[in-house]
Symmetry: C2
Amino acid sequence: MEFVIDKESFDKAISDVSRAVSLNTPFPILTGIKMVVNKSCLILIGSNSNIVIEKIVPLSINGKKVLEVVNTGSLVVPAKYLNEIVKKLSNDIHLIVSGKQRLTISSANIVTNLNGFDSQEYPSLPETEQTENVNISSQALMEVIKQTAYAVSMSEHRPVLTGINMSFNQGKLTCVATDSSRLALSEVKIDSVMSGSVNVPSASLKELFKLMDGDPGEVDMLFTKSHVVFRKNSITLFSRLIVGKYPNVTDLIPKESNTIVTLNTNQLLRGVDRACLFAGEWKNNNITLEIKESSKLKIISSSSEIGEIEEIQNISHLIGQTELSITLDGKFLLDVLKVIKEEEINITYNGPMKPLLIQPLNNASHLHLISPVRTY
Amino acid sequence: MEFVIDKESFDKAISDVSRAVSLNTPFPILTGIKMVVNKSCLILIGSNSNIVIEKIVPLSINGKKVLEVVNTGSLVVPAKYLNEIVKKLSNDIHLIVSGKQRLTISSANIVTNLNGFDSQEYPSLPETEQTENVNISSQALMEVIKQTAYAVSMSEHRPVLTGINMSFNQGKLTCVATDSSRLALSEVKIDSVMSGSVNVPSASLKELFKLMDGDPGEVDMLFTKSHVVFRKNSITLFSRLIVGKYPNVTDLIPKESNTIVTLNTNQLLRGVDRACLFAGEWKNNNITLEIKESSKLKIISSSSEIGEIEEIQNISHLIGQTELSITLDGKFLLDVLKVIKEEEINITYNGPMKPLLIQPLNNASHLHLISPVRTY
């Protein structure tokens, strides 16, 4: 194996696949990055027990030559050192296998030798026989993930709840996440008749988000029995699936309403953020929302030891009863308000012991439920 | 106590004094900030067992009114909550003592109550009977601290070595730090005939650096039996002194030289940084510097497990013997190179087991010594 590569392209590719590499693995070879060079490209692979990231560097990018292959071949090289060395080099970088599993990396007057592993011992990738395949805009996919990922369960008590449930049905992708105290649901139209449902670990989707967010384009989703695969241009992320039946959540969403209050999203976000200052010291970050006259919302939080905070905000609009009083985890409400881009939201209230429904105004594609906290 | 204060000025002052406040103190009152309001200013004080920071907010700053005093008084308020609340408010902030040690903070429609402590119970500040007083440019003081602070000892085995020794003699301030393996010495002229020597904890000087760096002006240094006081405009830092006799280091500085090599500072910094990649895995971050022909310096580091790195750099100039070979802690050399602003340095070599002397070219005001590592 011998090739010369542009520093910037190499550095970016190594950083991308390194996201999947953990130094705390019982398998030394998984601390490495697998490099495969063939006539037309360099393939880098990094993996852990949950995800695999594969990145392809072609011979040229946007007309600029970035890779010159002298000899094809493959090797697994420690990710940490490869990453750090390449960051600290400049110019073009020359790589050659100079001995048994030994890689020589040189640039200008700097010569480095790294001991690697036999690439034959690296685990093989999941098979992607493309039985099912969905194509979706990257931006839309990132949006539905962002709007639900905050609500996944942190407890391994019910493993399926630690993932996002992605279901495909009648030309729609629906993402659902819940930790039993709150629920997030977000939908997007897709150009596919596929139907089915998978539970994807939220950690995998967070990595996907970091890899692909902000970059326009299309994502191909492929499904195997045990994996979901996201492919976009030169980068591919394989994630294991969580086995188990996801609970049916549609019955939880309230159909009626005592009161619907329209509020400015950012104003409420800032108010709840302030109220959470004290709430953190209290059990469950509790804050109380209260309406007594129809035009004002009161946000209250107190801790007998430290003090209390009380804030009055204007309401844009109110339908139904003008009485509202609910105590909930302020942190949960913050999480919801942070993922809503719309300027205004509707809050649907059905009583102090019923879940509060939060939805962006004039956008039915996502909704958020928070269970109240019993205060007596 | 009642006053109205501009948010920005209040926020900055609270942040400054909060630097001295630790939440892990056995004395609850020290988790608070002492506020004293008199007719002409607000005084904020934060402290821990090592330092006290005092900040004065006057009635107006640069002609802009920032403080309106309604009633004088004092109170101690939990630093953490005061800090966070004020950051999240806007506009002018109104503060009033509304009950027994209870502070009401209000701004627009937001009202917060904080439980405080009796200010009578707050420890009093060290007396600064100004027997001795040195005035020094802030920039020059920051420079001598920066050039020596990296070399203080991290071990409490010999407490004086955890501080910087500041000695005043014949119109000069000399700062020295050493951890027995390396030594830094930096001098600056002062307009004072004072003579004497104090050991200042490096942690205090790091706080001083954060408080006062980048801000031109003069610093007044005052000395009490147990404290040194740095005062600049509206801010004062009191630091305890370390008791004990600082070792005499002048004999350690080599007077002769086998070889003097002139090198580009940044080029060497980058080379040593690269060599340290592997050195970190090896005992003491060892790297080897080697000259065999007079025009080239070789930087070598290796780890039998991981690999090795070797780099060749040009030498600007060489006086004396053209043979050099020394192994030292690469991290120590990096620390030195990071505090040298000059473009070129001189390295004075007296043999593989003698300390290496590093000095900026044409600037005798500071010098750095690093002991070699025994490699056999």
